[in-house]
């Protein structure tokens, strides 16, 4: 197989509040022999909040990010569900509306760029599943996670709206019964935990404006995983991770029950199975202690 190579859109969180996600992404890519070219020119995707304020501006900025991936002639890989949503949504809208695309390109031309629509945009989770292949990953596992019950937490912006999300996936994901992250857990040798909240919202996007709603959603998610007998949770989204890992005090208070579990980024889980060290994966950067390794 030819070496897989992608343009990496890190997003902001991997560079700030979840440094462990950046570390583990690079560590896992190296183990798997995947080359990631970081798009250092990229701006923030707007996280669906800039979109509430100025739709056109957010389209122009996201188109610029994709244009840089196109310059490399590479598929863009994201490591944040919300980055994935906003980037893929921009791509979808521009690829299906010549007039809008022309308007956006008029602006990009001012800085010598053009959005063509030649690069696909996919989340690292699906790059591993669709392009690298879980069978191959399975063969590379050196430390099977067989003693662990692992609760997958999918995060909204990777599975909904499914029509958009499934434009890029090889196998369609059913948002009411998603399987990608479960499959990844199984490939790493772990046991998956089935629980009602696995495809629900963590509440991240209203943490400041609707703190109670946000805290209840986080609390319910962790409680669901705990009741499913999970040893830990795993998520492909750094924003979900922030919520589940750092907001347990608010969440416990909101639902009237102490909740806390170790929460791993999916890259950290894969990294553990591939034999990376805890230090390489940044396991010491969590608030909810990762005490099982």
């Amino acid at each position: 197989m030819e070496k897989l190579k992608y343009a990496l859109f890190t997003g902001c969180t991997a560079k700030q509040s979840t440094p462990e996600q950046m570390m583990s992404t690079m560590a896992v890519a190296e183990k798997l022999g995947i080359e990631l070219v970081e798009l250092t020119e990229a701006s923030c995707c707007g996280a669906s909040h800039l979109q509430d304020y100025d739709d056109f501006l957010s389209l122009v900025l996201n188109a610029r990010n994709i244009a840089y991936a196109e310059k490399h002639g590479l598929t863009m890989v994201t490591i944040c569900n919300t980055c994935q949503l906003n980037t893929a949504m921009t791509k979808h809208r521009l690829d299906n509306n010549e007039e809008l695309k022309a308007k956006v390109n008029e602006k990009l031309a001012e800085v010598g760029l053009e959005y063509k629509g030649t690069s696909a945009v996919t989340h690292f989770l699906y790059a591993i599943i669709d392009d690298f292949g879980l069978d191959k990953l399975k063969e590379m596992v050196v430390t099977p996670l067989s003693q662990f019950n692992i609760a997958p937490f999918y995060g909204c912006h990777n599975i909904r709206p499914s029509e958009l999300q499934n434009e890029t996936h090889k196998t369609a994901e059913n948002p009411y019964n998603p399987t990608s992250l479960d499959d990844l857990i199984i490939a790493c040798g772990g046991e998956t935990v089935d629980y009602e909240e696995k495809n629900k919202c963590c509440g991240f996007h209203v943490e400041l404006q609707a703190p109670h709603t946000a805290a209840v959603l986080t609390g319910n998610a962790i409680a669901g995983a705990m009741d499913g007998n999970a040893d830990w949770m795993v998520t492909p989204c750094p924003l979900c991770h922030l919520k589940l890992d750092t907001q347990t005090a608010h969440a416990s208070e909101a639902i009237g029950r102490e909740v806390e579990l170790p929460v791993l980024h999916m890259q950290q889980m894969v990294g553990l199975a591939l034999g990376c060290t805890p230090a390489e994966l940044g396991l010491n950067h969590h608030l909810a202690k990762v005490d099982f390794v």
Binding site: Q16, C44, D55, C156, R160, L208, L217
Partner: protein, 326 residues
């Protein structure tokens, strides 16, 4: 040309929610094994349960054409219009064991029938009609151009089935929250060129009940059988608040605007700076968690942020492409 297609049948096991608020203390599930043909829709199954198994089984339906909006229920947690949803598609999605439930179990009155009172109250609260001075004896028709009609973005196709409303987690937690269908209705009338309402946009922008408490989960977009995409309408209501100058200087609004400020400065987000700008003095409540995060290397100070390369491009684009001010 004959369009012959084969009708196939398969065995399906149905677990059906049963509850009679007048008699039962708790709901229970009844199981039915049936041969289902590829021609059938979910409503056919509800009919057969009632006609062949238990005459007391209750559900709402009227038009059987996806128009009246009464037959919405949940199949394996997924909202569906029973009269429109093909059984074949349901089996393809979920396999041969299907769970049939009302849209909201906690509002169940009898089996599939729920009390939709909260839905209608919230719908009524967004002034869901045109507010306009209408000449009662017009000389000619009051025409709306096709371009203006397009602005409604199909929000007028809503059949008030409630599928989105009862799929919305924010509705479940915050009982004041208007919910996706009410917002779609608010958008439908606010986007109408003939409308002169002044209070509607303000009402949907109020804290607690308003658009800013939407958690952006896209459950409503997924649930809607008419592809109204309510979250898209909510996003447009957010944008309208800025365009019409009624956005209030509150934490939600500053949070949206803060992204632009941060992008101009760094290209990327200054996460700590965003929280500080959004919260203002209320930032103190975040200090305990922020302190813990700091000790774990999760907080980068403003001077430590790696700015985007070619930041000048980003700044130039923000200048030339911004469409709103706040």
């Amino acid at each position: 040309m004959s369009t012959e297609h084969k009708i196939t049948t398969q065995k399906v096991n149905f677990k059906v929610f049963r509850f009679n608020a007048d008699e039962d203390y708790l709901p229970y599930y009844e199981t039915y094994d049936m041969e289902v043909t590829s021609e059938e829709v979910v409503l056919d199954i509800l009919n057969r349960i009632k006609w062949d198994h238990d005459g007391s089984f209750s559900y709402r339906r009227s038009c059987r054409h996806g128009i009246c909006g009464t037959c919405a229920i949940k199949v394996n947690g997924r909202s569906t219009l029973a009269c429109k949803e093909s059984m074949n598609d349901m089996v393809a999605l979920f396999g041969n064991e299907l769970v049939i439930e009302p849209l909201s179990k906690k509002r169940a009155v009898k089996d599939m029938i729920i009390d939709k009172g909260d839905f209608w109250e919230k719908h009524a609260a967004v002034t869901p009609y045109l507010v306009a001075d209408i000449d009662e004896n017009p000389e000619s028709e009051n025409l709306v151009s096709p371009e203006d009609a397009e602005k409604l973005d199909e929000a007028d196709l809503c059949i008030q089935c409630g599928a989105c409303h009862y799929a919305c987690p924010a509705v479940e937690i915050n009982e004041d929250f208007f919910g996706p269908a009410a917002f779609a209705a608010a958008y439908r009338f606010s986007a109408d060129v003939r409308d002169n309402a002044t209070s509607r946009l303000k009402d949907v922008n109020e804290e607690k009940q308003g658009v800013w408490d939407c958690v952006k989960c896209f459950e409503c977009a997924e649930a809607c059988p008419k592809e109204i995409n309510p979250i898209e309408k909510i996003t447009k209501l957010h944008q309208m608040a800025f365009q019409e100058g009624i956005a209030k200087n509150n934490v939600a609004v500053r949070h949206a605007v803060g992204f632009k400020k941060s992008i101009v400065k760094n290209g990327v987000l200054d996460e700590g700076g965003l929280v500080l700008y959004s919260e203002g003095p209320a930032i103190v409540k975040h200090i305990p968690v922020a302190f813990k995060m700091f000790t774990k290397g999760k907080i980068v100070p403003p001077w430590g942020i790696t700015k985007s390369q070619n930041l000048d491009e980003i700044q130039k684009l923000v200048k030339s492409s911004s469409t709103v001010k706040f």
